[in-house]
């Protein structure tokens, strides 16, 4: 598992208060992990800070699953 994947999953676990085994790639934040829309906004804020990037609103709206978050960070991270 790449470093980015682990860091993204760690943030999801912290922000949404879910268990590690629940954070599967296909898991949807709102449907599977019990997040409401505001939790998702805060999750994106936390990702922005961890990876020192700015995620535009129209991109943020597409980040609905664990895999989508990992893919976005991988594609846009400076590292």
């Amino acid at each position: 598992m790449s470093n980015i994947e682990e860091r993204v999953k760690k943030i999801i676990i912290e922000q949404l208060g879910v268990k590690e085994e629940e954070v599967k790639p296909e898991a949807s934040f709102e449907n599977d992990l019990g997040a409401d829309s505001l939790d998702t906004v805060e999750l994106v804020m936390a990702l922005e800070e961890e990876f020192e990037t700015e995620i535009p609103d129209e991109e943020a709206e597409k980040i609905k699953t664990v895999q989508a978050a990992i893919d976005y960070v991988k594609a846009h991270s400076q590292e």
Binding site: L38, V41, E42, M45
Partner: protein, 245 residues
């Protein structure tokens, strides 16, 4: 319960009138206050009366980039914004039949759209810290209506609906959003009234006088305080009894 020591407050339209009274009372309660005015001269005047307790900054609230720039600067200079008071407002009165598009638009831009931008800009920090107070200055005429002020009343009523919706969105994050709705207050806005107009107004005010800016500011300080943590989406009317809602 009402002490604001260690808190940082941003007050728009703070060079005179109600905004100035709000800035002064927040500072008196212990907060560090940043007051905005449209001109550099106004900003200097704010710095002068606040002294050690804060400073004035120039801001055109309808300039989206200027708003986000100012919020970033304040958050970098003072680390945070705990209290946002959206007080800046204008009037462009005219009968609807005579109202120009720009008279409508400028009042909506300054009195309503600017509040959307300012709230959005402070939201991130407040949500992260799980603490924030947003107080929007509405007006009694937003509830009662007033001939010649369709634009102003629409914006002021709009603020109430806006505040209730935002209050519901972020209540779980420890951020409250409320309105204070002044009646007729003794400021430059009401000094333009003639004696005849004033006596006509007093006939409808059980308190038989204009309100003082300090009497509006006191309600704002209360809503900004720890004591008001469980009040959100509410409007406090400060109008000497002219409308009991």
């Amino acid at each position: 319960m009402f002490d604001l020591t260690g808190q940082v407050a941003l007050v728009t339209g703070a060079s005179r009138g109600i905004g100035r009274a709000i800035a002064e009372q927040l500072a008196a309660a212990g907060a560090t206050v940043i007051g905005t005015a449209t001109s550099d001269k106004g900003a200097t005047a704010i710095s002068d009366y606040l002294g050690e307790r804060g400073c004035g900054m120039a801001l055109n609230v309808t300039d989206s980039e200027a708003v986000s720039g100012l919020i970033k600067q304040v958050e970098s200079d003072y680390q945070k914004i705990d209290i946002l008071v959206n007080n800046a407002g204008i009037t462009q009165d005219n009968l609807l039949m005579r109202m120009k598009d720009d008279e409508w638009q400028s009042v909506i831009d300054t009195n309503l759209t600017a509040i959307f931008r300012l709230c959005k800009a402070v939201m991130r920090g407040m949500m992260k810290r799980r603490h924030g107070r947003i107080i929007n200055i509405s007006s009694v005429v937003g509830t009662t209506g007033n001939p010649g002020q369709t634009n102003y009343c629409a914006a002021k009523a709009g603020l109430v609906g806006f505040s209730k919706s935002l209050a519901k969105e972020i209540a779980a994050r420890g951020v409250t959003v409320n309105c204070v709705a002044p009646g007729f207050i003794d400021t430059d806005m009401t000094k333009a009234l003639t004696e005849d107009q004033k006596s006509a107004i007093f006939a409808n005010i059980p308190a038989t006088r204009l309100g003082e800016p300090e009497e509006v500011a006191a309600a704002v300080v209360f809503l900004a305080s720890k004591g008001a943590a469980y009040i959100t989406g509410e409007t406090i009317h400060v109008n000497g009894g002219m409308a009991m809602i």
